[in-house]
Amino acid sequence: MEIDRLDGRTPNQLRPLACTHNVLNRAHGSASWCQGDTKVLAAVYGPKAGTKKNENPEKACIEVIWKPKTGQSGKTEREYEMILKRTLQSICILTLNPNTTTSVIIQVVNDDGALLPCAINAACAALVDAGIPLKHLAVAICCCLAESGYVILDPSKLEEQKMKAFVYLVFPNSVLSNLPEGQLTVQGEPMEHGIITSVTQGAMPVDDYLHCLERGRAATAKMSAFLRKSLQPKLPID
């Protein structure tokens, strides 16, 4: 049985993606990322040396500051900051700039569902724009589960509220490589199938979660192609 989506999308269809980088002059790197009406701005400052607090002689340090659209930061923002920080730490090559701090500032412009995945995508694009050394990119997606176990991707705010559960997933982007295929698998699965981050809300059968994983992976392949394309240097005619 199918569920009609309010905006007429098919279950697997993502909202239109838009990514612009270098949108801020004073930041070392920045990007804005839109998925439909959800829009997030990310700015990166750093790596800066000598901000004593969290410095580590062996690793670069990343700090994330989450600015909500309106009002004060609360527990939700603290949690998002922590998830984002740990997600970004896992894709950055931290050993290259020890004793430094890189700040990532997230400004929510508009929230129409899948906010955290959208922010992760924005932060990732901004890190590339700032030239921070990365192991690979991260691609984030939201899967929503209906009562019947039906999965829809990239929900709007209204869909998020109506559904019984949702899952935020972050995967590495698919790797373009000249190596034979076999080199890039881990435990029989391609590297890009490994989960960097998973956050869920609402109870669901375990099998439905595994189903979300499959659908999420399929969708992130498309998104990583988009991300790669949008990060390529623009031709002057653009």
């Binding site: 922590m82 740990r86 730490q89 956050v199 609402g202 109870a203 375990v206 979660y209």
Partner: protein, 300 residues
């Protein structure tokens, strides 16, 4: 001879605890290779867990929970509120997780632990989305008065797996909760019935002294390190091998949360399934521990 030795010779002079401090990963790897952990546990075994109900006399429900040396004290205080217009027949639950300076050398007064608000949020999300508590049971007088449940969880000793211990203490405190019998006084305020102020008033919640807890959530946190999975990590293990996965299952086997906030190790489907299987096993252990604690209370 004049030339310095290789570093191996020098390090062998160190005490075990000094070596552990200086080269924590090498120390752990030598244990993991033997499928064991420094505290003697197999990789998939959780620490000894205990739960005692009714630890706080001034609260309406309370529990003291220990997982290894991680200790949590949870207490519930019931207050009265006017329900919102959108849901006139529902009460509310406010959950706060505290890390006072006594619990860990990294927490200082006036400089709260970074983890505390995150665990608070995680607990609220888990408890509210698990459907364990029907908020309608917290209604007193439709549209007029409902219970506001303040659940405060204090970490008294922090040694890893804070969320798991906090969730268990929260669940235990709810199972110990005894709702006070109240009545409406002349000023329209809800007050506790006692011998002195009864005054012939009818109690408004005679039958609702206990909450019905359905599908109780239980959790297990695991560390992913290389191909190893370590259940119920200590604080030291969490700080050395930083990829954590927390799985929450309810008593009927539904997945309430699968939480993996980043970390350098990627989780593949097989690892996820292993963590879920370990959690299934742990849910049964925790259910038994909780049942024993409640049974112990009924005997008294």
């Amino acid at each position: 001879m004049g030339l310095p030795d290789s570093s191996g010779g020098l390090l062998s002079e160190l005490d075990v605890d000094a070596f552990r401090r200086l080269f924590p990963l090498r120390f752990y790897e030598s244990h993991l290779a033997k499928s064991t952990r420094p505290d003697g546990r197999p990789l998939d075994k959780a620490r000894d867990t205990s739960s005692a109900l009714g630890a706080v006399a001034s609260a309406d429900g309370s529990a003291l929970v220990k997982i290894g040396s991680t200790t949590m004290l949870a207490a519930i205080k019931m207050e009265v509120m006017t329900p919102s217009q959108e849901s006139p027949d529902e009460g509310c639950i406010a959950i706060e997780f505290h890390m006072p300076p006594i619990c860990s050398p990294i927490v200082r007064p006036g400089r709260p632990a970074e983890a505390a608000p995150v665990v608070s949020k995680q607990l609220s999300d888990t408890i509210l989305s698990s459907g364990m508590i029907n908020l309608k049971e917290l209604s007193l007088i439709s549209g007029k008065a409902a219970w506001m449940v303040y659940l405060d969880i204090y970490c008294l000793d922090a040694d890893g797996a804070l969320f798991d211990a906090a969730l268990l203490s929260a669940v235990a405190a709810f199972s110990h909760l005894q709702i006070p019998v109240v009545s409406m006084n002349d000023e329209g305020k809800v007050v506790v019935m006692s011998e002195e102020n009864e005054g012939g008033k009818e109690p408004v919640n005679k039958e609702k002294r206990k909450l019905t807890l359905c599908s109780i959530p239980f959790s297990l946190t695991c560390i992913l390190y290389k191909n190893y999975i370590l259940a119920d990590p200590t604080a030291e293990e969490e700080s050395i091998m930083e990829t954590l996965v927390t799985v929450v299952l309810d008593s009927s086997g539904q997945l309430v949360s699968l939480y993996k906030p980043g970390g350098s190790v990627l989780a593949y489907t097989s690892a996820i399934q292993d963590c879920v299987a370990l959690t299934r096993q742990r849910v049964r252990e925790l259910q038994t521990i909780l049942d024993e604690a409640t049974a112990g209370m009924e005997v008294d």
